[in-house]
């Protein structure tokens, strides 16, 4: 029998080596694996590569804590009315991290190449943009004579995709309500998949409606159950963005530890 997959947030984060590349699920302030990200900070991880089409709080706080060496991202912002991600911005402007700037769909094309087992993936559009020369992307002429030239993106294979979901079960299956954002392709592209779940749901609820399962158990290496773990972001339909908490986080003069101390997974730990 395979080893049980249910573990703690701490143990899960401990499995991330310094220098690992992590694809993070969700989008901006919604359904991000934020408790996991904070645990990486507590464990003082370094040199991480963060891969996400639309990071915000997660990439920002990791930059703030000095955990990041490289970001591969499409659009980085706090969103809502919060604008730019301040610590990420500072880290790029001060050249403390390397940025590989993508369009969301070029990053996805790279993930698709990895998921499909091919070295590169064509992507629509991009023509006229400065991004290809910035990233040394290649254009390939249609060998079938249409005359079209299409940009192709090299495969992007994260070491680990970390996905925050609504429900997981003890086998490792995971499902999401509302949009799954980019999580499907992340889970298929990465070498390993870690799941942070709001709820441990009965296996029976998955066999009753297997069509809802986004990530099947055999692709998942670890599951941690962390209620409210997407705080200060939302997890539909359970809770909304905690805007006051994000606003407090945005105060660059306020100690990070004050923010960290309010995290729900911290509270839980104390309870346990």
């Amino acid at each position: 029998m395979p080893p049980p997959k249910i573990t703690t947030l701490a143990e899960m984060a401990a499995r991330v080596p310094d220098g690992a590349s992590l694809a993070l699920g969700g989008s901006f302030l919604h359904r991000g694996p934020f408790a996991f990200v904070r645990e990486l900070i507590r464990q003082r991880k370094t040199d991480l590569e963060i891969i996400k089409q639309s990071p915000g709080y997660d990439l920002d706080i990791l930059c703030r804590a000095g955990c990041v060496a490289k970001a591969r991202a499409g659009i980085v912002a706090m969103e809502g009315n919060f604008g730019l991600a301040p610590w990420y911005r500072r880290a790029v402007e001060r050249k403390q991290i390397v940025l590989e700037e993508h369009a969301c769909m070029t990053l996805t094309a790279g993930l698709r190449a990895a998921a499909f087992g091919v070295p590169f993936q064509p992507v629509g559009g991009v023509h006229g943009s400065d991004l290809p020369s910035l990233n040394a992307w290649a254009a390939v002429k249609d060998p079938y004579g249409s005359g079209q030239e299409v940009w192709v993106i090299p495969a992007i294979q994260p070491d680990i995709a970390v996905i925050h979901v609504n429900d997981a079960n003890e086998l490792g299956d995971a499902r999401v309500y509302g949009t799954y954002n980019w999580d499907r392709i992340m889970s298929r592209a990465a070498k390993q998949v870690f799941i942070v779940a709001e709820t441990l749901a009965p296996v029976r609820s998955f066999t009753d409606r297997p069509e809802l399962t986004l990530i099947p158990s055999f692709m998942v290496q670890a599951v941690a159950v962390v209620p409210h773990g997407a705080w200060p972001g939302s997890c539909w339909p359970l809770y909304e963005v905690d805007y006051p908490a994000v606003e407090a986080y945005m105060d660059m003069d306020r100690e990070l530890s004050l923010h960290m101390a309010h995290a729900p997974e911290r509270q839980e730990r104390v309870d346990a």
Partner: protein
């Protein structure tokens, strides 16, 4: 409101006016004005259109209007979840009629910069980055952007970086509406409280203004719809939009 047309109302209303019957129309992340424009059009206009959004919504009926334009509440009431890969693929294969995309700088050819102020490798300001634009702007049937500030800093002769090319179909600011004409942005209309001269002075690129006139004031339905979406004016206050 018609007596004093706020920049916020001008922006949202004129974005909504790009929406056409039966078309597939998309609003994305970091995009509160187009989100409101789509919701306004649903309320104010007597035609239907397919409203897709970045939260996976397909013809949603959200119970509340979120601060974040990617909030999952925007898929509430939807009959399907059309996730990110789905709407991007729809766009690249030519099925997106109208796409609202953000921009920091826009040039006279309707190209956009959302990447950086200054040199990309030595940034003065690191901006959000590529996002949807580089892929969606050249592949959507029409792409429209907005700027909450109309100035030579935002509407520029030369972009600091070309994040997305392909030619915007429209640009709306608090005082003007530009549309694409012969591969350039041309002025379509200006705010009743502004003037062609003012728009020229505040715009960094040259443009044609043939046939341009003052923008038609918001209809009763448009005013009522925006009022319903923002009953206590919170969105308007948060947007911090001044005509000048």
């Amino acid at each position: 409101m018609p007596d004093h047309w706020s920049g916020f109302s001008y922006l949202v209303t004129n974005l909504a006016r790009f929406i056409r019957p039966d078309e597939v129309t998309f609003s994305g992340v970091n995009s509160t004005p187009p989100m409101l424009a789509c919701l306004l059009a649903k309320r104010a206009y007597d035609f239907d259109f397919v409203y897709l959004n970045v939260a996976g919504g397909v013809q949603p009926a959200p119970s509340t209007i979120p601060i974040s334009s990617s909030d999952p509440v925007l898929s509430e009431g939807s009959t399907a979840i059309f996730a990110n890969e789905d709407f991007y693929d729809l766009c690249t294969r030519g099925g997106m009629d109208l796409c609202f995309l953000g921009a920091a700088q826009v040039d006279g050819r309707g190209r956009t910069n959302v990447s950086v102020i200054g040199d990309w490798h030595n940034p003065k300001v690191r901006l959000p980055g590529g996002g949807g634009g580089a892929v969606m702007l050249p592949t959507a049937q029409r792409a429209v952007t907005w700027r909450t500030e109309h100035s030579t800093r935002t509407l520029v002769e030369t972009l600091d970086f070309v994040t997305a090319a392909g030619g915007l179909a429209g640009v709306v600011t608090p005082v003007a509406v530009f549309v694409k004409r012969e591969e350039r942005l041309a002025l379509q209309s200006w705010h009743p409280d502004a003037s062609l001269d003012e728009v020229r002075q505040r715009t960094g690129f040259d443009f044609v203004a043939t046939g341009a006139a003052t923008t038609p004031r918001p209809s009763v339905d448009e005013v009522a719809a925006l009022q319903a979406l923002d009953p206590d004016g919170q969105f308007e206050r948060d947007a911090h939009i001044a005509l000048r």
